[in-house]
């Protein structure tokens, strides 16, 4: 019996509702496929653009141990990009097409990476806050409906939580150090705090995709819920460090059992999304030039593989 689209959609949703995963060869609504290509590739792009601000500090890391840890961290991000591009490719799009969307500005990546990493303390703050905020989203995604994405997330989450601990440890070392180091740590917190809160995306009432995303188990919590969870989790850590939260409106709300925090500068958020952040141009330029300068290398590898294949067939 031939099922019509409505039946297929009903069956598809029932599968999701029962907690089973959708695999690349399963039937899926076109919108589900497109949404996943958009979200997974945006995530992959964030990983590889995210290599840049931290990559800037590898050659200047203050000790051999920190250098090796940072190199390994940035390399992990490249690895995450690799699994995520592969997960997106299972939906019928090539990596080159995805790069093209990044380079043309059609695809977005996490705006946080458009902020500059100006001191060594930023390596601590980025690992601790940015990876920390990313994990909140990613832990949720380990239970998402699309199988390859959920499985990629399980592996990524393990590494990210390791990165977060390393970031916090960098901050802790600075905070237990000299006055200069403490000031460096506070300055980094001041600069990364608000952009980290913005990482969860617009307020719920302005978030356009939430309802559909929840139906498909791409989202299990709303942006505001995750943001609050992040604030509640991070404030005690800031206290351990002995730093000040750069928010004069922050206070514990006894009745909610949560922290109330000050207003986010959404104008800044939308400006950075629109391309006006401090490093948008540099980040995209760096990605484009790596891709363009690498074209002859990829062509050579392809030509060589074809020659080898032809030789094998001739034998």
């Amino acid at each position: 019996m031939q099922l019509n689209t409505e039946d297929l959609e009903r069956e598809f949703q029932a599968k999701i509702d029962s907690g089973r995963s959708i695999e690349p060869k399963d039937w899926m609504p076109e919108k589900y496929r497109k949404t996943h290509i958009r979200q997974i590739s945006q995530h992959a792009h964030s990983e590889i653009v995210g290599m840049l601000p931290e990559g800037n500090w590898i050659t200047r890391a203050p000790s051999l141990k920190r250098k090796v840890t940072l190199l390994a961290k940035v390399q992990d991000e490249g690895g995450h990009g690799l699994y995520l591009y592969s997960a997106a490719e299972t939906l019928g799009i090539t990596r080159d097409e995805l790069y093209e969307q990044l380079h043309s500005g059609k695809a977005k990546y996490s705006s946080i990476f458009n902020y500059p990493a100006v001191t060594w303390a930023d390596m601590g703050a980025v690992g601790w806050l940015v990876d920390g905020a990313a994990i909140m989203n990613q832990v949720m995604l380990t239970r998402t409906s699309f199988g390859p994405y959920a499985r990629a997330m399980v592996r990524i989450c393990k590494e990210e939580s390791f990165h977060q601990r390393q970031g916090f440890e960098i901050m802790l070392t600075l905070c237990q150090g000299t006055e200069v180091q403490k000031r460096m740590a506070q300055d980094a917190l001041n600069r990364w705090w608000w952009p980290s809160l913005m990482m969860f995306g617009p307020k719920d009432e302005e978030s356009t995709h939430t309802e559909q995303a929840m139906k498909w188990r791409i989202k299990l919590k709303t942006n505001d819920e995750l943001r609050q969870q992040f604030v509640d989790q991070t404030i005690p850590q800031i206290k351990i460090l002995g730093l000040e939260v750069p928010d004069k409106d922050l206070k514990w709300n006894e009745s909610r059992g949560s922290y109330d925090f000050g207003a986010i500068n959404w104008e800044e958020f939308w400006n950075v999304v629109a391309g006006n952040g401090p490093c948008n141009k540099e980040r995209l330029e760096a990605r484009k030039s790596a891709f363009e300068n690498g074209a002859w290398v990829r062509d050579a590898a392809m030509a060589y593989a074809e020659k080898k294949e032809a030789l094998k067939e001739a034998v």
Partner: protein
Amino acid sequence: MNTKLYEYILLLADNPLILGHRLSELCGHGPSLETDIALTNISLDLFGQVRNYFQYAAQVQGLGKSEDDIAFLRYEHEYRNVIMVEQANKDFAWVIARQFFFDAYHKPLLEQLAGSNDAQLSAIAHKSLKEVQYHHHFSSEWVKRLGDGTEESHTRMQDAINHFWPYMGELFEETALEKEMKENGTGADLVAIKPVFKSFTNEIMAEAGITVPSSEWSHSGGKKGTHSEHLGFILTELQYMQRAYPNMTW
């Protein structure tokens, strides 16, 4: 303190230090994600080796210094790396040529050091050898791919080989210290490594369709502390934090 052993460790460790630094500059900028990850891996391996060497050097020196003091707080003329590893990442073919020549030297060097009568050096060499076998395979495969890939990749690979050719001789130039360390059973025999290096690199270049340059002349000086202009810039970055914020814990 055993000054000679300390100096010899620097001769071994400064090459992976500076080469690791050059490779780390590429992290996030590779021609593909796969090559980016692979080059970062090599850089990570080299820094891991450097840490083993410098921890040992600090112990031999016996002045209570750390691996970081040795890595970051020397002046230009106190670094003992060959000039070849300082050369810039002009393009991927340069990166590969530099790596190819270094790996072709590094592998037999470590094979020899694995038999050193110094237990610590022998242990470091054993551990490093596993990693360097992979580097050796990676770089030689890429010489073949680029040499025998497209017309453009061939031209670039040949240009890179031509550029690095006159820097190779220094790898085999035996200093008085290296000669003494060889004779007392601690160090490697560079004279014996050279033919292994030659036959391997010639074989790969022939397979890659690369013309082997004929000049026998070579730059030198790095091992004695006379470097190219590149080293000052490398150290400016490498030492930045340690120089700008002295005596702090990171």
